[in-house]
């Protein structure tokens, strides 16, 4: 009797499974521009990645409220990755063909970026990795489908070191100093190290590397080492719940927060608001935007999306750092599609390959950005076939106990140092994959 029940249950479940899976595979051809959103709403990065996903979704709704991309409405579908690479790859496979084809992917995880870099050339879908992923993918001649728009980790490392050098009074004052780098022990964390090592060699300061194994619950030993070595500065390359833990442990060993600098994924409100006043003085380098509650685009989102009850997340988070990062990411996705539409036909959805052309020929002037509502938030972005980054500006903000205030002016990463590094690393990748640089004709397509 029991066996029969179990067998019946299994049979029904299998029937249900096949039914559901088959209905999900069939898609209809719709006249929308589909933007998949790989989210991290659960797992170790949930507090931070949720804001990004909310910002992304809200900006897409704003675009629709303004009339879409020349009349073509945007469609966002989310898929939860929990910052796990295999789930991210599964989400990619599931979403890439839906709703007429995914326009562009933004995986928000360096691990998933590495995995998808192998798949997107075959699937011909571009990927935007603003501020993360492979730093060498700025070389568009080799990485045709990757777009680390407006910044990558070598820009972050360079600008944070520039800020520290400015505080000291010049690069030469760094000679003999000690800078510790506490980083997430994963491709994300390690991606920062080449630029730090390059600068350390050039200016004669000592680097102390402190890997923090994920998820970073127990960091006492690392901060005891910091206390022992007494570095002059500590740079944090951490993400998610690792950051507040690091700051708390730093407080517990009495390391001054004024000497701690995070990269742009390690300095947002979810990391600091629970630590509060004790974290006063902690700074982080930001990829152009910071917390921008008074910006035009936030005002528009509040009036055209939240006032109509369509906002995805809590209203009080609109305008916070990671929310803005989602907004900026969505803006870049849309503007690339709009640029592509201008060439391939206004008023109809662009294919992923056409969108790729759009991201490669992005030219957002200050006037364009101001019109979109990003006045004083962003600087112009211009990509080319060889340069898939388009802009290398950053600023540093500091936590004053309750909010962030700007601590530096606009800093620009040193292209003379970074470009050769990017090129060398990209060539190494191309040699491994036995692929050649793109030809001039290929750049025009």
């Amino acid at each position: 009797m029991k066996f029969r029940q179990i067998a019946l249950g299994l049979a029904l479940a299998t029937a249900g499974l096949t039914g559901v899976v088959s209905t999900s595979v069939a898609t209809a051809q719709e006249k929308v521009q589909f933007f998949p959103s790989l989210t991290g709403r659960t797992g170790p990065v949930a507090p931070n990645a949720t804001q990004f996903a909310n910002g992304y979704a809200d900006y897409m709704k704003l675009v629709n409220a303004r009339g879409g991309i020349n009349g073509v409405m945007t469609l966002v579908e989310e898929c939860e990755t929990a910052y796990a690479t295999d789930r991210g790859v599964e989400c990619y496979e599931r979403l890439k063909g839906k709703h007429g084809g995914a326009t562009v992917f933004q995986p928000l995880s360096t691990g998933i970026t590495f995995a998808l870099t192998e798949k997107i050339p075959a699937d011909k879908i571009p990927m935007i990795t603003s501020g993360y992923g492979r730093s060498d993918s700025a070389d568009g001649d080799i990485f045709k489908w990757n777009f680390p728009l407006i910044g990558h980790y070598w820009v972050a490392g360079d600008t944070v070191l520039q800020h520290i050098a400015n505080k000291e009074g010049g690069w030469d004052k760094l000679k003999g100093k000690k800078i510790a780098v506490a980083y997430h022990d994963s491709p994300f964390g390690k991606e920062l190290l080449p630029i730090m090592e390059e600068r350390a060699k050039k200016h004669g300061f000592q680097l102390q590397l402190l890997p923090i194994p994920a998820p970073g619950v127990e960091q006492k030993a690392i901060w005891l080492q910091v206390r022992q070595q007494r570095p002059d500065y500590v740079v944090l390359q951490t993400w998610g719940v690792m950051t507040p833990t690091a700051i708390r442990e730093a407080i517990a060993v009495g390391y001054p927060r004024e000497k701690m600098f995070g990269t742009w994924w390690s300095g947002a409100e979810p990391d600091l608001k629970d630590v509060g006043a004790a974290a006063k003085g902690y700074s982080a380098v930001m990829m152009q935007h910071g917390a921008e509650p008074q910006s035009d685009v936030v005002k528009q989102i509040l009036s055209m999306v939240y006032d109509k009850g369509q906002g995805v997340g809590p209203r009080n988070e609109v305008g916070q750092v990671l929310y803005m990062r989602g907004v900026v990411g969505a803006m870049l996705s849309v503007e690339g599609a709009r640029t592509a539409q201008a060439k391939f036909g206004k008023g109809k959805p662009v294919t992923p390959e056409q969108a790729r052309w759009g991201y490669e020929n992005l030219n957002l002037t200050q006037a364009d950005l101001d019109a979109l509502g990003f006045k004083d938030v962003m600087r112009p972005v211009a990509t080319t076939c060889s340069d898939h980054m388009g802009s290398a500006w950053a600023r540093v903000h500091t936590w004053d106990g309750t909010k962030f205030v700007w601590a530096s002016g606009w800093l620009q990463a040193d292209k003379t140092l970074i470009d050769p590094m990017v090129k060398a690393s990209a060539e190494k990748y191309a040699a491994e994959k036995k692929m050649a640089r793109r030809s001039k004709e290929d750049c025009q397509s």
Binding site: I6, T39, E80, T85, T117, K119, L193, P213
Partner: protein, 358 residues
């Protein structure tokens, strides 16, 4: 009635000793293999291959390896993820560092190194048993996690710690379409499954089962515990290592140490427990269950939500997946602690009589 072996007489020892002595079994397995190799490529689409079939095939190979250690030899091991990692990274190093290395040899070499590591970490099993051994194998897991993240040689000194392979080919065929990848993995799995089935029917398999049931008594009747336990670790790690190489090369393409973390070890152990410990067929059932369930839940939950008029957010789907997964595991263990394989064998028993009542 249909499953009866009435009228099947064996007139030679060879016929009596074959893997599937009952003709219905032979036909069924042949049909299954034929369907898997020939039928499925026509029926399945790209997404089904990439998301379900290829992971299922590779993970069932790994589950067979884990089953040999946990199910047949009774040594609880939570370090299977580490052995997969060793297989993957060593296969990568052999593939990348030696010019023109054939893919299959690289994968087998990965399995070989995994076997060596397995033997080393199996040594504690001679002294420690049960749950203590389970936690001791976690040492293997975490040590390998650290080693692959820290020691640059394993990742060919890649600055990010992430490695990638491409241009896979076998005897001139490039393996890049989903069907080709599926068939490549299926060949490995089918071969190893048949080899494993033979192994566990033989003397060494009986030694393993004797150690599992009562290791002191086994030692008393002359089975050498060291040989049996270490050979179980060796064979199991070899298979898991090859599965790890396949997972990395064919399914992921580009990976980092976190792909083989402790969650992977638990996942493999779940497959073995739910599928049925001590059963090769059970490894396949367990792998199917664990691979398909999250995807099924991911599709079904929004659909169920839409039926009752509730939009389910992605975070909620993720939480619900966890909850339902946990409940199903517990329910399964209560309903049938010997796993799906036991249900399968009960089914076969009933089939002997069906449709007759007695």
């Amino acid at each position: 009635m249909f499953y009866r072996e009435n009228g099947q007489f064996k007139i030679a020892y060879r016929a009596d000793q074959q893997i599937f002595p009952i003709a219905q079994d032979r036909w069924a397995v042949l049909a299954l293999i034929a369907f898997a190799f020939i039928g499925v490529p026509f029926l399945a689409d790209g997404y089904l291959f990439r998301a379900i079939l290829i992971p299922f095939v590779i993970l069932s190979l790994a589950a067979i390896g884990v089953n040999i250690l946990v199910g047949y030899c009774g040594q609880i091991s939570l370090g299977s993820g580490a052995f997969m990692a060793v297989g993957a990274y060593m296969a990568y190093n052999v593939f990348v560092r030696i010019e023109d290395m054939p893919l299959v040899l690289a994968l087998l070499a990965g399995g070989f190194f995994a076997m060596l590591v397995g033997i080393v970490f199996g040594v504690p099993s001679l002294r420690v048993k049960g749950l203590y051994l389970a936690v001791a194998t976690l040492a293997a897991q975490f040590f390998c996690d650290w080693a692959f993240a820290r020691i640059g040689w394993f990742t060919n000194s890649s600055s990010s710690g992430s490695v990638a392979v491409s241009n896979l080919s076998f005897l001139g065929w490039t393996i890049d379409s989903p069907v080709e990848k599926y068939l490549f993995c299926l060949t490995f799995t089918a071969t190893f499954a048949l080899l494993a089935k033979n192994l566990v029917r033989g003397a060494i398999g009986r030694e393993w089962m004797a150690i599992r049931d009562m290791d002191v008594a086994a030692a008393v009747i002359g089975i050498r515990p060291m040989y049996a336990k270490l050979s179980a670790f060796a064979v199991s790690s070899f298979i898991i290592g090859v599965a790890g190489g396949l997972w990395a090369f064919v399914h992921l393409g580009s990976w980092e140490p976190a792909a083989f973390s402790i969650d992977r070890s638990f996942q493999l152990l779940f497959m073995v427990i739910i599928g049925g410990m001590g059963s090769i067929m059970g490894s396949f059932f367990g792998a199917a269950f664990i691979v398909i369930l999250p995807i099924f839940l991911n599709q079904a939950l929004p659909w169920v939500g839409s039926l009752i008029g509730v939009t389910v957010s992605t975070a909620m789907i993720s939480h619900a997946e966890f909850m339902i997964f946990g409940v199903l595991i517990v329910w399964f263990l209560i309903a049938e602690p010997h796993g799906l394989a036991k249900l399968w064998s009960i089914g076969k028993q009933k089939l002997r009589l069906w449709p007759f009542p007695h």
